[in-house]
Symmetry: C2
Subunit: 346 residues, 2 copies
């Protein structure tokens, strides 16, 4: 193949926020704009997706907006969730359950505080082979020197404990941001993985210090942490759209929203980032192979396979914003240039 | 004395930014509004204050705006500064020289990259007993895992080296933000001190994550670092006004300005913070005694002594902004409440 062309088989984004209502209408098509044909959809809506019926209704809405994407659905871990509901969800094709610690990110007020209460649910998930998606941060607490910088390493003992108790339960530590997390996941064998976002391959704490558009949870950490992420497990973009005014402006009373939006530029962006640290050869596994294997969603050669071609270009400027009706979103790296573009889907 | 009254002898702020032009007109009177009668004035103007004549002209401007404050002047360390200029500055009553590493804060593009070239200047400063004020951060560098979080600890070897070479030179590590810096300064004896800002006694990284109004350089660090600062050396507020739109809004191209503005509420704020960690007994030394002693500016009992009385109040709301003509500034904790107010000056 020519050196200025990359070919990816059925790119899959294993962590994406598609929101609700008018914003959902705007951002859902961006999954394909960004080169992806599978989206693992987060359930932190208002109200959160806690039942099979809600998840199926949400999936139907997404399919109405863009039927050409495979949406994998998750439930929001909450006291409403029972082992029976897990079995029902599995039968309905729901793939995972997402756990949010209380109060650490967007719409996580109903998040969990302790895992023991959920052991019967995890037992059922292990039995029916559903995936547990963990937002792996503990809430800040000055008394224990816990803040956004060490919230993820401080969470890791919970991950170890869960894995020991449920060794066959497939667990994904979502959007890992630290060397400590990467090392922990590597030590835990094939049932534990982590997703890596595109933006955490690019930025460190310096990039969000004073720059709201690069602020997300978990926050980007040290350069050495970024280095560790570049060993790449598999992509979950955590692409998280917010109305621009909630990002751009902070008043003394209201901080800005946490989230970086990468969906519409995702595949070219990832290609460029991997190329920047000489890892283009890992691209296909990062955006498709590794994640699909973990999720048991290997591409079926007999089925409808989508191959995406990327072509090297000179300075393709990223749009400043995307607009639909009264909704708009500003992407990561708005106004900067990308050196890869999607040439075609086959 | 009544428990709801505090009495402070001649409060002194040993690090303050009074800016230029219309903004200077607005903020200079806030030194006294905040309860202070001495201001150690930073030289990072455009262009920077690099000569005695510039410093004296700037001092005259400040005195025209508010003659009731004692302004101590500093020069901006740059290649323009010679040992002869140091001797001239000393004779003219200039107190110190401020060093900014290149590019780490507001107007530091002309900052230094290595200290060796300045040894003749430091030699002269030691000889005439001028103070060296260090912005103690190194520039970020991914290759060495240096970022805003460890820029200060990484700077400390420079401090040790300077102190060993110039043991009698009085050095102030400005706005210390880490336990490492506090421990380093404590280990270096009476010629080395550090200033502590009010806001770094209050905030940690969590407070500026996504909240531009709390973003400053050096950035606030871990809760444990804040704990170390609370041992309190002496106050240098680093009160740094910026036009509100440069704080509140970040576009993808322009991050927000670094700086927290505390001048107009400084003494009540510091009283409240020290009270919050049961250190009200340290207030007078923190805001006057320790700093004055280090700077050899002890209050002369025969001279004009200003005593400031603070009174405990119930919920005194901090102004949302201060305005003069077309200039405005938004203070730290805008809209929040203070429990101390300045009752009177005697």
């Amino acid at each position: 193949m020519c050196p200025n062309v990359l070919q990816i088989c059925s790119p899959a984004d294993f962590h994406v926020h598609l929101r609700q209502g008018a914003l959902c209408e705007l951002v859902t098509p961006h999954v394909r704009t960004g080169g992806f044909t599978l989206a693992y959809v987060m359930p932190n809506l208002k109200p959160p997706i806690t039942t099979t019926d809600q998840a199926l209704a949400y999936k139907a809405e997404l399919e109405k907006i863009d039927p050409d994407v495979e949406y994998l659905m998750t439930l929001y871990l909450s006291p409403d969730l029972t082992p029976d509901e897990i079995r029902k969800a599995k039968k309905a094709g729901i793939v995972g359950v997402k756990s949010y610690p209380r109060g650490v990110t967007t719409n996580s007020d109903g998040g969990i505080e302790s895992y023991e209460a959920y052991y019967p649910v995890f037992e059922a998930m292990q039995e029916v082979d559903m995936v547990l998606n963990l937002h792996g941060e503990v809430p800040s607490d000055s008394a224990t020197n816990t803040c956004v910088l060490n919230a993820e390493p401080t969470f890791l003992p919970h991950l170890f404990k869960l894995h020991v108790r449920f060794p066959a339960l497939r667990i994904v530590l979502e959007h890992a941001t630290t060397r400590a997390a990467v090392e922990a996941v590597k030590s835990l064998g094939p049932t534990v993985a982590c997703t890596i976002t595109a933006h955490h391959l690019a930025i460190t704490v310096d990039d969000w210090a004073g720059q709201a558009w690069n602020y997300c949870k978990p926050v980007a950490k040290f350069p050495d942490d970024r280095e560790a992420l570049r060993e790449v497990f598999f992509l979950g973009s955590d692409s998280a759209p917010h109305p621009p005014h909630t990002k751009s402006t902070s008043t003394p009373k209201d901080p800005c929203a946490a989230g970086v939006y990468t969906s519409p530029i995702l595949l070219p962006l990832v290609a460029q980032l991997l190329e920047s640290f000489s890892a283009t050869d890992k691209l296909e596994n990062f955006v498709s192979g590794f994640g699909r294997r973990f999720y048991k969603r290997d591409v079926d050669p007999a089925g409808p396979v989508k191959t995406v071609m990327l072509r090297k270009v000179v300075g393709q400027k990223i749009a400043e914003e995307w607009i639909l009706g009264d909704q708009s979103v500003v992407p990561f790296w708005a106004g900067k240039e990308l050196e890869w573009e999607i040439a075609k889907e086959v």
